[in-house]
């Protein structure tokens, strides 16, 4: 691994920002940033949501025009001419939601807009040859003629990276590249990143996952309120210090697990099967208990939650709530019985983004009077939940689209609290929200358990489960692989169960 300190003295930066600012009406999103990116380094940009990371990346990739300052690429000051220009200068962006055309082939996507042509016709032979070479460099062995829609998410991401190589990128910006990847795929991605860096390509790595920053990056730039707090060598940092720099204050316990008297079984699930997704899954969860679900991506955790909640039809199995057998055909039946499900994808499945905070809060349980909506009661309810959950919004009518991730998540919680659910499934509740909001979210989950509700917490980030849960169920390939009591908790045990590796005797 190259030593960044030595590199800083000997290599000329591939990107240099000088006093770069971006002002939106009323907001100074990026404020006088100076930053140097060196060839061959993996450089993390860390900070809470709204710290200005994304805007800074957009300035670099020329999606946005800076209101002040200079951007230098390869030693030359560049004029602003839009994203195509930035690409031609060697700045490539791998978006969180990939910018691929799903109905075109891999090769067609790789050369989209720059098709190798001869006499006006696309030279398919050359396109294919070059595609194979590019794919090899990102460790992807698929036929370039395959449609992108037939690839897995991890494979599509490789295509995105190959696309960056196709334009001869000097800097590749990756925005939360592991958000949808399984652990093994993350490891492979890191291999590709290291390989690119060893060829002198600079990687700008944006992530909320602190462990990844420590695993893969050489240097870290921390942003807060649009400014750079500090740029440091990753080796000089530890997690505590990084978090402190990001939030600008000492954080309390990230995982405030409450001491709760665990009560009777509230939800009992027996023998649920659904096609290839779920096989004979059984578990129970008690009042006041936080039950964790661990497993690799695709192990069936969300599928099981959705099955219990009636979101997907099941082939067999029973669900009992407080001793009564339920007949759950659809989400409405589950909600009426007292089960709530906070989806993993809160924008895609959790919120009506164009509606206000008040309308989302009451969506699952509309207050009515004589058949008409009781709008006053609705505002009252929303105001109460806003104060209780500390939802930060300038107004109750604010479209939830315009709220931060953490506050959106709280609106989802508010909606489910309105249903008086006895059992709440939280599916990756901390995904995509910043550190401060995470602590708040887990505090909230703890409070809900303290009120005697049964909580099921699905998470791919083990520290969350190990710190918050009373028991952890591990799933593998659609089955329950095992269950751990609190005194048995360890990352190794969970990973062993989740991957099916034989336990060392």
């Amino acid at each position: 691994m190259p030593s960044p300190e030595k590199g800083a003295g000997t290599r000329d930066p591939v990107v240099r920002l000088r006093g770069v600012s971006k002002e939106f009406p009323g907001v100074l999103a990026v404020n006088g940033v100076d930053l140097e990116i060196l060839p061959g380094e993996v450089h993390a940009v860390a900070g809470e949501n709204g710290a200005g990371k994304s805007t800074l990346m957009k300035l670099l990739s020329q999606v946005e025009r800076p209101t002040a300052g200079e951007v230098e690429i390869s030693g030359e000051t560049v004029a602003f001419r839009g994203p195509g220009h930035a690409q031609s200068l060697g700045v490539a962006m791998v978006y969180q939601e990939f910018a691929l055309a799903p109905h075109l082939s891999v090769a067609e996507n790789l050369f989209l807009g720059r098709e190798p042509a001869r006499a006006g016709f696309i030279n398919r032979g050359r396109e294919k040859e070059e595609a194979i070479e590019l794919l090899r460099r990102v460790g992807l062995e698929v036929d370039p003629g395959r449609l992108v829609s037939s690839l897995t998410v991890a494979q599509q991401q490789r295509v995105e990276i190959a696309k960056a190589l196709a334009i001869d990128a000097k800097v590749v910006i990756m925005d939360e590249p592991t958000a949808t990847l399984a652990e093994k795929e993350i490891e492979e991605l890191f291999g590709v990143i290291r390989d690119l860096a060893s060829r002198g390509i600079a990687i700008l790595y944006i992530s909320h996952k602190l462990d990844e920053i420590f695993r893969i990056t050489d240097r870290v730039t921390v942003m807060r309120d649009g400014q750079i707090v500090s740029t440091m060598s990753t080796g000089e940092l530890d997690e505590d210090r990084l978090v402190r720099m990001m939030v600008g204050r000492q954080l309390g316990n990230l995982y405030p697990k409450p001491e709760v008297e665990i009560e009777e079984v509230i939800l009992r699930v027996e023998g649920i099967s659904r096609g290839n997704f779920l096989q004979d899954c059984s578990f129970d969860v008690r009042g006041g208990e936080i039950l964790g679900f661990a497993g690799l991506v695709g192990a069936g955790r969300s599928e099981l939650a959705r099955a219990v909640f009636g979101a997907d039809p099941i082939d067999s199995g029973t669900v009992e709530l407080e001793g009564k057998q339920l007949n759950i055909k659809n989400p409405r039946a589950a909600i009426e019985a007292g089960i709530g499900y906070l989806t993993e994808d809160r924008k895609g499945e959790g919120l009506a983004l164009q509606l206000g905070v008040h309308e989302n809060t009451t969506l699952a349980n509309l207050p009515t009077r004589a058949g008409f909506l009781n709008l006053k009661a609705e505002l009252r309810t929303a105001r109460r939940r806003r104060d209780e959950l500390n939802i930060r919004t300038p107004s109750l009518r604010r479209k939830v689209q315009l709220l931060s991730g953490g506050n959106q998540q709280k609106v989802v919680v508010a909606k489910w609290l309105e249903t008086r659910a006895r059992v709440l499934f939280f599916d990756e509740p901390a995904r995509g929200i910043d550190v401060g909001a995470k602590a708040e979210m887990f505090g909230l989950i703890g409070n809900l358990a303290r009120e005697g509700r049964a909580i099921v917490l699905i998470s791919s980030y083990l520290p969350e489960l190990l710190n918050m849960c009373d028991r952890i169920v591990v799933m593998r390939q659609g089955r329950i692989a095992g269950e751990l009591r609190q005194e048995e908790f360890s990352e190794e045990r969970i990973i062993t169960l989740a991957t099916g590796a034989k336990e060392a005797a």
Binding site: P331, R332, L351, L355, E359
Partner: protein, 330 residues
Amino acid sequence: MTSTSAQEERGTSALRERLSGAVSQLAAAGALIVVFVFLSFASSDFLSADNLFNIGSQTAVVAVIAIGMTLVIITAGIDLSVGSVAALSGVMGVTLMVSFGLPVPLGILGGILVGAIAGLVNGLLVAFAGINPFIATLGMLSVARGLTYISTGAVAVFGAPDSFRLLGQGVLGPIPIPILVIVVVAIAGYVVLSRTRLGRYAYAMGSNLEAARLSGIPIKRYLTMVYVIAGALAGLGGMIAASRVNSGQPNYGLGLELDVIAAAVIGGASLFGGQGTVVGTLIGAFLIALIRNGAVLLNVDVFYQSVIIGVVIWIAVFWDQYRRRLAASE
């Protein structure tokens, strides 16, 4: 921050949230006023009682159907069949009066019912069979028109009682009855959209269908109801149109869906769903009617009317998207 200033901030901000939703309507209303003032000066006949009366009655068909269309568009759907359904309702309603001797009010109700049934089929196809609304209602556009020709032999149905004229041509005191119909349907539409589950769920389904389903909303039932209402209002529109010529015309309403969709879109309804209001749609309907009326008064070639309306749609949608981009980048 003191609590009073926090409250004030919330107050002004809440006001701004409310206003931002009304901006596209304000723009359309502004356009409506500009066109109105312009025509008042440009044509001496424009402000005559006869002409205004005429505009009101002409608008009724588009406005009434467009309110149903707004509901559908809010759910991120579309109903292309309204023109054909209006024609089918018109000939069926008149036939019920002429051939089956039904009294006029029952004949009108019969026409509305025919529209509602067509809407029910649309709704079942969309909600239960999972057919894309564009295609489902495109099929109904063809089916309803075909049934109209089959049932009439492609010949207009005459002979309705004279009192049937009242619906499209009558007055109650100084007020044209078609205008009263607009008012009643608009108030009902406003109440449904802002004060009932159906309205709220329409916005929620249009904004995020899966979130609506996972929130326990019976989406199939409510989607179906939305298309039934749109069909019934197309039926009512068809009866008003039939009353204006006191006959059921099998060729009525060819291309009517364009004016209806345009009215909703000019009024701020988003084809992506989740947005649209009755007030906006009414403004859109009247704007189209004014443009058509003004074109006639100013002797503009009828073919240019279509061009003008098309350009107005472009401007309205462009303005709306521009405004929304501004709001999103806030």
